[in-house]
């Protein structure tokens, strides 16, 4: 009986909460919470400053993807329609968001900052096909607000302040056109492995 | 993690073993070592883990079972025993009750056989699963029932 009287302390808490502000919000279409700039959901492929498709088909994202959901078909080197310089191209690029774990590794390894993630809440699809991003869908997503992270920025953030300031920061600075078209040149550089302590 | 002095002494005097991380012990003395360590205060079982090593020129196809025990707060000792495939190693369930589920899991995933285990069934995978998936020779395309 005494114990039941003590229940009033619990009743007080729920009573208190009756007058608190609502904590939930209607979902996404009329919500409108501002997402932080690093917020990441789906994917987009972007064009670089020259107006070319930034992807050079180097297959780095395909190799790093833990879920193995990215498929890149390299298109070989071709002169850019805008600058005329030869650069790598991708013939096809598909990304199956059904199995994506949103780890951002593909963004981090991209040497051309070609793949970015989106900053808007993901809209669920009605079929598997809707979540399968083809190259057209990825380039169409370019118009959607993108997340902060790009390859160069992520690498820059991690390399910042490191005692030995080797390639990565230098790599982040110049516009993509300089290193374009030489995907074969990238692998040997960062493959140094672990073991270096500051 | 360095091995504490009293364990080094115990190993040298009673078992004639070299100390190390991990200590390698033969199959016929592993239960005795476990019991001795427990008497020495190592009553906390951290894990039992096995790994599979395929046959090489020098060694047959075998698995290693590693036991890690701890004397709170800091002292830690790992001892391992090599088990050729097809043979078994004595179970440590009588010494550490926790070896029950740990050894079952390792049997399930790696296929090390623990002789005398009270309940050596699969624990993670279905009863009718074929093969032990963490073996290096496990074919990832092994056929199994589609709903598993």
């Amino acid at each position: 009986m005494i114990g039941l009287l003590q229940a009033f302390s619990a009743l007080r808490i729920t009573g208190l909460n009756l007058f608190r502000a609502k904590n939930t919000e209607p979902l996404p279409w009329d919500g409108g919470r501002v997402r932080p700039e690093r917020y990441r959901t789906s994917f987009a492929l972007v064009h670089n400053s020259d107006g070319d498709e930034a992807c050079i088909g180097c297959k780095m994202c395909e190799k790093i993807c833990p879920s193995q959901i990215i498929t890149v078909v390299p298109g070989g080197r071709a002169p850019s329609p805008n600058t005329g310089k030869p650069r790598g191209t991708a013939k096809d690029f598909t990304l199956d968001v059904n199995a994506c774990i949103h780890c951002e590794l593909c963004v981090q390894v991209c040497p051309e900052d070609a793949i970015v993630m989106l900053r808007v809440p993901e809209v669920p699809g009605f079929s598997r096909e809707e979540l399968f991003l083809s190259m057209e869908k990825l380039y169409a997503n370019e118009k959607v607000p993108a997340s902060w992270g790009t390859g160069a920025l992520l690498i820059g953030m991690q390399a910042e302040g490191q005692p030995k300031p080797p390639p990565p920061p230098a790599k982040a600075a110049p516009p993509p056109a300089t290193t374009a078209g030489v995907p074969e040149a990238t692998p040997p550089a960062p493959a140094a492995g672990g073991g270096e302590t500051p | 993690m360095t091995v504490p002095d009293d364990v080094t002494r115990l190993l040298a005097e009673r078992f004639g073993l070299e100390s190390g991380d991990p200590i390698t012990v033969s199959r016929d003395r592993v239960v005795e070592l476990g019991g001795a360590l427990k008497e020495a205060g190592f009553t906390y079982l951290v894990y039992v883990a096995c790994a599979h090593y395929p046959a090489t020129d020098a060694e047959p196809d075998r698995t290693v079972a590693e036991y890690r025990v701890r004397r709170l707060p800091v002292d830690e000792v790992a001892f391992r025993v090599w088990v050729p495939t097809g043979e078994s190693t004595p179970t440590l369930v009588p010494v550490f009750a926790g070896c029950d589920w740990q050894e079952r899991e390792q049997f399930d995933l790696v296929g090390t056989i623990f002789a005398g285990h009270p309940d050596l069934r699969r624990i993670m995978l279905p009863e009718d699963w074929e093969g032990h998936p963490l073996r290096r020779d496990y074919d990832i395309a092994t056929r199994h029932h589609p709903w598993r």
Binding site: A7, L11, K22, P26 | -
Partner: protein
């Protein structure tokens, strides 16, 4: 009009129709109220999508339940399984027949009205046990067993605490009990002591009868999945669910009638006071429900026999002494 009033059969039919429909609708919207209320307690809005502020949610729920496939488990006792939900509903609704809604508004003015309500509502254990047994499900069986044990235990303090207004009012007729509380001499307030304690005990025992938290062990969804309703789907489940809400509503109506003076109140007496009081009790029950945890079965049997029964006996004794000497 006078034809209806003069013919008891016609009067019964009309009054029954009105009361039953009004209560069913009330129960349906009490679910909406509870969801909104619980939502507010948990800082969330509750139903919002169907109708303004989710007001049409009960209709949507009803449509959903009606559309569902009616599944009867293979090894269930088919007759009992199908009979249990409507039987529970009938028993709950039958109690409403003798309520004095307002001065002179009594569908069936029995002189043993209170006894009738209490005996009818104690019968509700039977459909609950039927549902538990007939489902041929272990969880349902455990739930049914718990329900039976609970009903047997809590019937005693319920009756004993209901005895206090009977002694004080000197009648088993609900109208007389309400009339005895006229002019604010509500039994929950006056005489001080037995009435108020008996009121609390009566409400707690009613919670147990209506399977509400903290005494909802027959359902106990975290332990018994859904207890007796595990195997029920569709409208059968809906009936059990609705019967539970109706039972809660009947309990709060009865509490308001026996202890809070029924239709009596400041200003003009009438049905509005009864409804207001019982709504307050109803909301209180939901407040308790969405705040407290659940007792274990044996613990709350012990609570019943060790605390509720002695205290209610004491209340009866004090009330009797008061009746004789004051």
């Amino acid at each position: 009009m006078s034809v209806i009033l003069e013919n008891p059969w016609l009067l019964g039919a009309v009054a029954g129709f009105v009361v039953i429909n009004a209560m069913m609708v009330t129960a349906a919207w009490s679910i909406w109220f509870e969801r909104k209320f619980a939502g507010a307690m948990q800082n969330r809005p509750g139903p919002t999508q169907v109708g303004w502020a989710g007001l049409l949610q009960p209709v949507a729920d009803l449509l959903k339940l009606i559309q569902k496939e009616d599944i009867v488990p293979t090894n269930a006792d088919r007759a009992l399984f199908n009979l249990a939900p409507p039987l529970g509903m009938i028993l709950v609704l039958a109690g409403l027949a003798v309520f004095p809604w307002a001065p002179g508004w009594v569908p069936a003015d029995l002189d043993i009205g209170l006894l009738f309500i209490l005996s009818i509502s104690s019968l509700i254990t039977i459909p609950v046990w039927m549902a538990g047994w007939a489902s041929n499900n272990k969880y349902a069986l455990l739930g049914g067993m718990r329900a039976a044990a609970q009903a047997v235990s809590f019937e005693v303090p319920l009756l004993l605490s209901a005895l206090v207004p009977i002694i004080l009012g000197g009648s088993l007729r609900l109208g007389d009990i309400v009339a005895a509380q006229a002019d604010g001499r509500w039994f929950a307030l006056w005489p001080p002591g037995p009435g108020s304690v008996a009121f609390v005990l009566f409400m707690l025992a009613s919670l147990a009868e209506a399977n509400r938290i903290p005494f909802d062990i027959p359902e106990a969804e975290s332990e018994l999945v859904a207890g007796i309703t595990t195997e029920y789907v569709g409208m059968k489940f809906g009936l059990i669910y609705l019967a539970e809400y109706l039972h809660t509503a009947v309990s709060s109506l009865l509490g308001a009638t026996l202890f809070l003076g029924g239709w009596d109140g400041p200003g003009p007496d009438g049905i509005h006071w009864l409804l207001l009081k019982s709504f307050a009790l109803f909301a209180g029950i939901f407040w308790v429900r969405w705040t407290l945890l659940r007792y274990r079965a044996d613990q709350f049997m012990a609570l019943c026999w060790r605390v509720f029964v002695p205290v209610s006996l004491a209340c009866v004794a004090v009330a009797a002494v008061w009746r004789v000497y004051a």
